[in-house]
């Protein structure tokens, strides 16, 4: 079932300075969501300033020309709104959910920081400490986080996906105000941004406000090229982490194509068949039948450049990692050797379709989906036919995608073993 464009009347506009605008009015509730998607993430960084995209996301809340430090959220919350942001390897997204009458203020706040962000040494010092705490929380003291970081460094040799979005601790200490100012000038120009507004507003009024506030912001220079070269993987790679834990954990990553590759849709269904829900193949085999692990999860998300599909296994205490690995590879090979049954294929398609629909049930969800489509696939219109494209895939398509992905020589394996580091290991 395709989405009917009449039920999804997105308006497309662009300003002379390159700012892309997508508007979707919905008067059902007196609320709205604004997303600002910037095409910059950790893939745009270089060694020595890893983590600057994410650190910069924090800096965006520390004052601009018109609104001083702490004013962004203070004004927004006082008008019945809230804000947040996230940084990935490919993009940085800022969003506000708010009572619809606060729209003029929200646009003023967002356009002012795009026009003239204030960056000073004091706010950089404070945010640097906050981000280092975030790193300690999500990575240094978190098993999944430390394994994910190790996986990036193992699976990618040359591509910027090699370093974590939060950045290496030593780089976080090194980033300067000049680095931040250069980053802002380069990546936070209107021609690198897509604005998505969904909710309770009049399109004509909203567009007029956007033109008035964003129109004077000058277009930025062309973006620097990203060093995306990555040699072909010629064999399995392995890494071991020693850490005090109750049981071993495994993270196995396989190289996958970029989001623009049509093969990603088949991989979405492979991910769903193997990893989504109680009846997923991996959960059934490894958690319920063989009782090897507490949880078996599969992650595959679209990325601008070729990325990874990852399987995460949190083993039951006493289970040898080698045994769990063997069982995992057997299940993955089954995906390669045998087609899904018609019921399994339909299950995967229905789960993906329902997930798409649920993602569109809130203003925030619709705005996020529209922006993601713009950044990843070049147009929100890709969304309209997406369900039909999933529907057209066959069991053969999925088998081919699995065969291309789960080859042993494309495997990257991170094992976490409980216990202290071996004696003599560097602290």
């Amino acid at each position: 079932m395709a989405l009917d464009p009449r039920d999804f009347p997105v308006e497309e506009h662009a300003l002379d300075n390159g700012l892309q605008i997508r508007l979707l009015p919905d008067r059902a509730l007196p609320v709205a969501t604004l997303y600002s998607f910037f095409r910059v993430g950790s893939r745009n960084e270089q060694p020595g300033i890893t983590g600057i995209s994410h650190l910069f996301e924090h800096m965006m809340f520390n004052g601009s020309r018109k609104y001083g430090p702490k004013e962004f959220d203070r004004r927004l919350e006082a008008a019945g709104g809230s804000s947040n942001a996230y940084t990935s390897s490919d993009m940085t997204a800022y969003h506000e959910d708010f009572a619809s009458e606060a729209l003029p203020l929200v646009l003023d706040l967002e356009s002012d920081r795009m026009a003239a962000l204030a960056i000073n040494d004091e706010s950089l010092r404070q945010e640097r400490e906050v981000v280092k705490e975030e790193r300690r929380f999500r990575t240094d003291n978190d098993i999944d986080g430390m394994m994910d970081e190790q996986m990036g460094a193992l699976a990618f040799l040359a591509h910027p996906y090699r370093w974590p979005v939060v950045g290496w601790m030593s780089d976080l200490n090194r980033i300067t105000r000049t680095d931040c100012e250069r980053y802002f000038k380069t990546y936070y120009a209107p021609n690198n941004c897509t604005l998505v507004l969904v909710g309770d507003f009049e399109s004509k009024d909203a567009l007029a406000q956007i033109e008035r506030l964003y129109g004077p912001i000058p277009r930025g220079a062309a973006l620097p090229e990203v060093a995306t070269g990555e040699p072909v993987q010629k064999g399995e790679r392995r890494a071991i982490i020693h850490f005090p834990a109750q049981a071993p954990s495994l993270l196995v990553g396989f190289r996958t194509p970029a989001a623009s590759d049509p093969g990603c849709l088949a991989l979405d269904l492979v991910e769903t068949a193997l990893g989504a829900g109680e009846g997923a193949r991996l959960r059934k085999a490894l958690v319920y039948e063989q009782e090897l692990c507490v949880d078996a999860n599969l992650y595959f998300s679209w990325r601008v450049d070729p990325g990874l599909m990852q399987v995460s296994l949190k083993l039951n205490p006493g289970v040898e990692p080698a045994r769990a690995e063997e069982a995992l590879y057997k299940e993955l090979q089954k995906m390669v050797d045998e087609p899904l049954t018609p019921a399994e294929l339909q299950r995967a398609k229905n789960l993906v379709r329902a997930g798409l629909l649920r993602g569109l049930s809130t203003c925030n969800g619709r705005a996020h989906t529209i922006g993601q489509m713009e950044v990843m696939l070049g147009s929100w219109r890709e969304l309209l036919g997406l369900a039909d494209r999933y529907s057209a895939l066959t069991a053969d398509d999925l088998q081919r995608a699995a065969a291309a992905t789960f080859a042993p020589h494309r495997r990257n394996v991170v094992t976490l073993l409980p216990g202290e580091q071996p004696e003599g290991a560097e602290a």
Binding site: A28, L29, P30, V31, K70, D73, R74, E77, A78, A79, G80, G81, S82, S83, D97, A99, E101, A102, R125, Q126, E129, V130, E133, R136, F137, D140, N141, I143, F243, P244, A245, Q246, A247, A276, G277, E278, G279, K284, Y288, E291, V294, N316, P317, A343, Q346, R347, K349, N350, L351, V352, R353, A354, G355, L357, R358, L360, S361, T362, C363, E420
Partner: protein
């Protein structure tokens, strides 16, 4: 901003045979159907010595019914593109399912089958026991989870119905039997006190009629008069005589410590709800609250800091949460205590009071946007006994909170008032050194929480 009352979508509410409530809500827009069955089967009903049983039973619902194996149950539900939501909280068990609208009959039937006729096969019970024990052990690797488990214990006390973690303790889970599971299901998955909410684009009357017809098929499996045990009265939470006391859970090799400061709070249905929520929002609820400003923005001590009101139906807690690197543990605690004690004396400034009120009122409709959120909020308002006006008049109630009311709530509900408990999860040696002579300290190994 204006404080318009919130207009709920068209709905119909009926009480059916045996005390079951039926709620049909119309939500136009996406072609989805959502069902939510709330049952009086939360963790507060865990029998003495069987902490975690309510959650354990809920985990087993999908592992086979009298008609279908676990694989068949999963194929049925996930074949519709849905996932069964199983949320065991302290007061309730909620089972949820969202499907494309054309599958509403199959979906509601599946939900009722899973809830009312689980098989509880002996091998599935044994397997679930092993899985739960592994998961509980694995939880010991999660500093935030450890802090939550410790906090519940020290704040409510072990004997209180809310005084144990929802997932229970390994030492008690080990003893769970098929008879325990069947007994709990028979006693608690009853019509009385249960509520079925359905949401779709249909007119409420038609939607209610559809649900009634679907329920009629399950009359025989759902006796109207299950024997309900009377609950013991809820003991009041006792304040400690010590102004501040600390519990440190030792987690080796931590470079960061989790910090909680907790005092008794309020139950959900309390008349002071609005002022309590506003006062908490100004203290540590929003991104520009006093605590976020002092700890994150001004000092860079933590990535995350908040105060919150954990409100159950019969009791609640007022909780400060944050984390920081080992080197700044004492600084964070000192700043948090100073700010919270100052706030308890002075209350919010007029500016921050105004901001908290408009912030809460403005964002309120967002919490009712999706089918799922709508069913949850309306169901909870009914089950908590606060009625639909709790939702309709939320914005005007919040907007009309006075400075005096906010000050009283700030004073009476401060997480740091005398008798507060401090919970730290991290390296015990670091924590003890940091705390120095601040307060009496008890150190436990993390295995004590298993």
């Amino acid at each position: 901003m204006s404080a318009r009352d919130f207009q709920l979508p068209p709905l119909e509410l009926a009480e059916l045979q045996g005390g079951l409530s039926l709620l049909a809500i119309q939500r136009r827009g996406l072609p989805l159907f959502h069902a939510r069955l709330s049952l009086p089967a939360g963790a507060r009903f865990d029998p003495q010595g069987k902490a975690g049983l309510a959650n354990f039973v809920s985990d087993l619902l999908q592992r086979g019914t009298r008609r279908r194996s676990a694989d068949e149950v999963n194929a049925l539900i996930e074949g519709m593109g849905a996932g069964l939501g199983v949320d065991c909280s302290m007061d309730e068990l909620a089972l949820t399912l969202t499907v494309p609208a054309e599958l509403k009959a199959e979906a509601l039937d599946a939900l009722l089958e899973v809830a009312l006729t689980p098989a509880f096969a002996a091998d599935e019970v044994a397997s679930a026991r092993r899985r739960t024990l592994s998961a509980l052990q694995s939880d010991l690797d999660e500093p935030g989870t450890l802090a939550s488990r410790a906090l519940i214990n020290v704040a409510f006390g072990r004997a209180h119905p809310y005084g144990h973690p929802i997932h229970g303790y390994s030492r008690e889970v080990e003893g769970f039997t098929a008879a325990d599971v069947e007994g709990f299901h028979a006693a608690r998955y009853q019509r009385k006190g249960a509520l079925l909410a359905v949401v779709s684009s249909d007119e409420p009357a038609a939607l209610a009629a559809f649900a009634r017809a679907a329920l009629a098929n399950w009359d025989a499996s759902w006796p109207a008069a299950a024997a309900a045990r009377e609950e013991a009265p809820f003991p009041p939470l006792e304040s400690s005589a010590t102004p501040l006391s600390a519990l440190v859970i030792h987690k080796a090799d931590s470079t960061q410590a989790q910090v909680r400061i907790v005092s008794p709070g309020i139950a959900k249905g309390t008349a002071r709800y609005a002022e309590a929520v506003v006062a908490n929002s100004a203290l540590g609820g929003g991104f520009t609250s006093l605590l976020v400003d002092a700890i994150r923005v001004d000092r860079g001590l933590s990535y995350s800091v908040s105060s919150r009101l954990l409100m159950y139906r019969h009791a609640g807690l007022s909780i400060f949460s944050s984390f920081t690197k080992n080197e700044t543990l004492r600084t964070l605690i000192d700043v948090a205590l100073e700010k919270m004690r100052g706030y308890a004396e002075a209350g919010p400034s007029l500016d921050s009071l105004e901001k908290a009120r408009t912030y809460l009122a403005g964002l309120f409709p967002l919490g009712l946007e999706s089918h799922e959120a709508l069913a949850e909020q309306v169901s909870d308002a009914l089950l908590d006994g606060v009625g639909l006006d709790h939702l309709r008049k939320y914005r005007s109630r919040v907007i009309s909170v006075t400075p005096e009311q906010a000050l009283a709530a700030a004073r009476d509900l401060s997480p740091a008032r005398p008798g507060a408990r401090l919970v730290i999860v991290g390296d015990a040696e670091v924590a003890q050194k940091a705390l120095g002579d601040l307060c009496p300290v008890e150190v436990r190994q993390l295995e004590s929480l298993a």
